[in-house]
């Protein structure tokens, strides 16, 4: 299974690169993992560097550094409809 890296964007020009990555079966699992991680951060973690978790997004890349997905933290909220 491939390894995916979940780089965290937490504001303009602010990025925490993921040095370890996660081994996951594919893009669907990547999205589920990103959403679960985002939920955990929003619900349980206060950070000196992040006032609002909902400006954050995971930029997920594969081992070659190729972008796989971007998952904004807002995606954890239920769809409100337009």
């Amino acid at each position: 299974m491939p390894r995916y890296f979940f780089h965290l964007h937490y504001g303009p020009g602010k990025r925490a690169p993921d040095p370890e990555g996660e081994i996951l079966p594919g893009p669907e699992a990547v999205r589920a993992h990103a959403l679960a991680a985002a939920r955990g951060l929003v619900a349980q973690t206060r950070s000196d560097a992040v006032r609002d978790w909902f400006v954050c997004a995971f930029e997920v890349v594969d081992e070659a550094g190729t972008p796989v997905l971007t998952v904004p933290f807002g995606d954890i909220l239920p769809d409100q409809g337009d």
Binding site: F6, L8, Y10, A16, P17, D18, P19, E20, A37, G40, L41, Q44, T45, R46, S47, D48, A49, V50, F58
Partner: protein, 237 residues
């Protein structure tokens, strides 16, 4: 192998033993390795040996559906397994396992219990140590409830630094997230913030403490209370 004299022991609690009590237990001390991830005490299993670490760190953990979270840390300032021995409770509902490998002096519960029965000063010393453990756990609850991930990480690094030789803490972000009960990304974020301010250097699998004073400032009131209690109750400072 002959037991070590008290003067060369590095475990701070053994150093604080009244000399006659150290002499009482010394023949029963065995030098033993603490290999990475070794369970020293298992939840719900009778404690048969206690461990006085010389170096290395033992984590006390609580387990849930999301994995383990660290609820206590014991290194060369203490002894692993003393709570159910002092109380007569026999066992505890939390796993204790080796988080940083090292060495320890091991003793069976029988000889230690016998020494405690014979010596009130030893019993009182170990009860004072028990108070320090209680204070540490309460302070961890306070830190987890009230402080940011950066402050909690600073506190955790200071606690490790207190118990290790040198400035390097070997740990992966994934494991650190488990220990602090936060997402791995939260750990990565906090490490980056601590590193940016020159408090630490973070490499894959290794965090180096560069400036303790800055870390202490960041940890605010989350760090230092059990440490001061230890100095007061065990080392008489």
């Amino acid at each position: 192998m002959a037991h070590p004299p008290q003067s060369v022991v590095r475990n701070r609690l053994l150093k604080a033993f009244p000399p006659e009590d150290f002499a009482r237990i010394a023949p029963h001390l065995q030098s033993t390795d603490l290999p990475m991830q070794e369970p020293l005490i298992r939840s719900g299993v009778a404690v048969e040996h206690l461990y006085f670490p010389e170096d290395g760190i033992c984590s006390i953990t609580a387990s849930g559906s999301d994995g383990r979270v660290e609820v206590g840390m014991i290194g060369r300032e203490g002894v692993v397994g003393v709570v159910p021995v002092l109380t007569g409770g026999g066992q505890v509902p939390h796993d204790h396992f080796v988080q940083v490998p090292g060495l320890a002096h091991r003793i069976g519960t029988g000889p230690l219990c016998a020494a405690i029965e014979e010596s009130d000063p030893l019993r009182r010393l170990l009860l004072r140590y028990l108070q320090v453990e209680v204070v540490q756990v309460r302070q961890t609850a306070f830190a987890n409830a009230s402080f940011t991930i950066e402050a909690r990480l600073a506190r955790w690094l200071l606690m490790c630094h207190d118990r290790l030789d040198g400035d390097d803490v070997l740990i992966k972000h994934e494991f650190l997230g488990m220990m602090l009960g936060v997402q791995r990304s939260g750990v990565t974020l906090a490490l980056q913030n601590l590193e940016g301010a020159g408090r630490i250097r973070s490499r894959r699998g290794c965090i180096t403490v560069l400036d303790r004073t800055l870390l202490e400032a960041l940890a605010e009131g989350s760090y230092g209370v059990p440490e001061a209690e230890y100095a007061r109750l065990i080392e008489g400072v």
